[in-house]
Amino acid sequence: MANNKQNTKKQSKKPLIILLSFYAAFIAVSLIWNFQPGVKIGDNFLFFSVDMFKLFPPAFILVGLFMVWVDRKTVEKFFGETSGFMGYIAAIILACTTLYPFVVVLPMGAALSKKGARLSIVLTYLGATAICRIPMTIFEASYLGFKFSIIRYLVSLPLIVISSVFIEKIVGKNYMQENNLLESEAS
């Protein structure tokens, strides 16, 4: 089951590949000898992978489209230094419409950064995607009640904005540039 793992990999990924091979071998051996913990772990892996990989094609395509089509000026206008308070609101609105998992939110946040978004606004976006995705909230509210979701929104969103501003102060506005985190494969 967990076999289609090490396909097209390259360069300095060796340690990762070795670890993955060990893992795959362990699962394979478990399957052959019917070693229950191994089988269970393999099941878990499959369960989460299927779930995630189903979301990946459209999610990554959307990020790709964003990177190519949305130009720097637009991002700067809505999310840049001069956007002021509205930048945070825009980040929260963008976050609300997020449909994909956190691991895709990360490159999306990085893409915003590359296109000139202010660091604290990128951080707000990252935090808010965890809090206020609309599809997820509907799901949450149906199990825990709307009151629960609303309190969570009202308390966490201001905290996210405040903490984002503070974090930007701590690491510095130019943190991304200083740490060479903006080198891009698509400008």
């Binding site: 878990n44 190519v68 599809p135 309190i151 905290l159």
Partner: protein, 160 residues
């Protein structure tokens, strides 16, 4: 999820109509992003699959329910921080926990920390945002989770 596919399809269609060259570039970018992330992602999923073997959901329920509120909040934030559960598992699980007598306060800590704090996604986040920012962001998120749970506790009159 259907919406996500619909949205992506619509996006590609519009993009193709507008400019084929750019569309090709977008798809290539998407593919590169995916390939770059794949090894880390597989490692992450492997770790999650192992952790979840040792800590299945009924065990989580037991830990969260039987202790005092403060201990519950602490355990819930920590479990939330180290797990990576998709929403469609998390919320039914929360519903279940609620029925078993786990308080809203504890569930608030659990869901918030689960969604905002990512220990298992740390290696991926680090690649995009560097060690310092990743660590600070996650600590801040953990603090927020505790504050949110406290606020929920206040309003549901579970604390004080």
């Amino acid at each position: 999820m259907i919406y996500l596919y619909a949205l992506a399809t619509l996006g590609i269609l519009i993009s193709i109509i507008a400019n084929r060259q750019k569309t090709r570039k977008a798809l290539k970018t998407a593919w590169n992003l995916f390939i770059k992330m794949l090894p880390m992602l597989l490692i992450t999923l492997s770790v999650v699959s192992i952790v979840l073997y040792f800590l299945p959901d009924y065990a989580i329920a037991k830990y969260l329910g039987t202790n005092g509120l403060l201990v519950g909040v602490i355990i819930a934030s920590v479990i939330g921080a180290v797990s990576l559960l998709p929403g469609f598992i998390t919320f039914p699980l929360c519903g279940l926990l609620l029925q078993q007598g786990v308080s809203f306060t504890v569930l608030g800590a659990f869901t918030t920390s689960l969604m905002m704090v990512g220990v298992v996604t740390y290696p991926i986040e680090k690649k995009y945002f560097g060690i310092k920012l990743t660590v600070i962001r996650n600590i801040a998120a953990l603090v927020i989770a505790v504050i949110v749970s406290f606020a929920i506790g206040l309003i549901y009159q579970e604390v004080l």
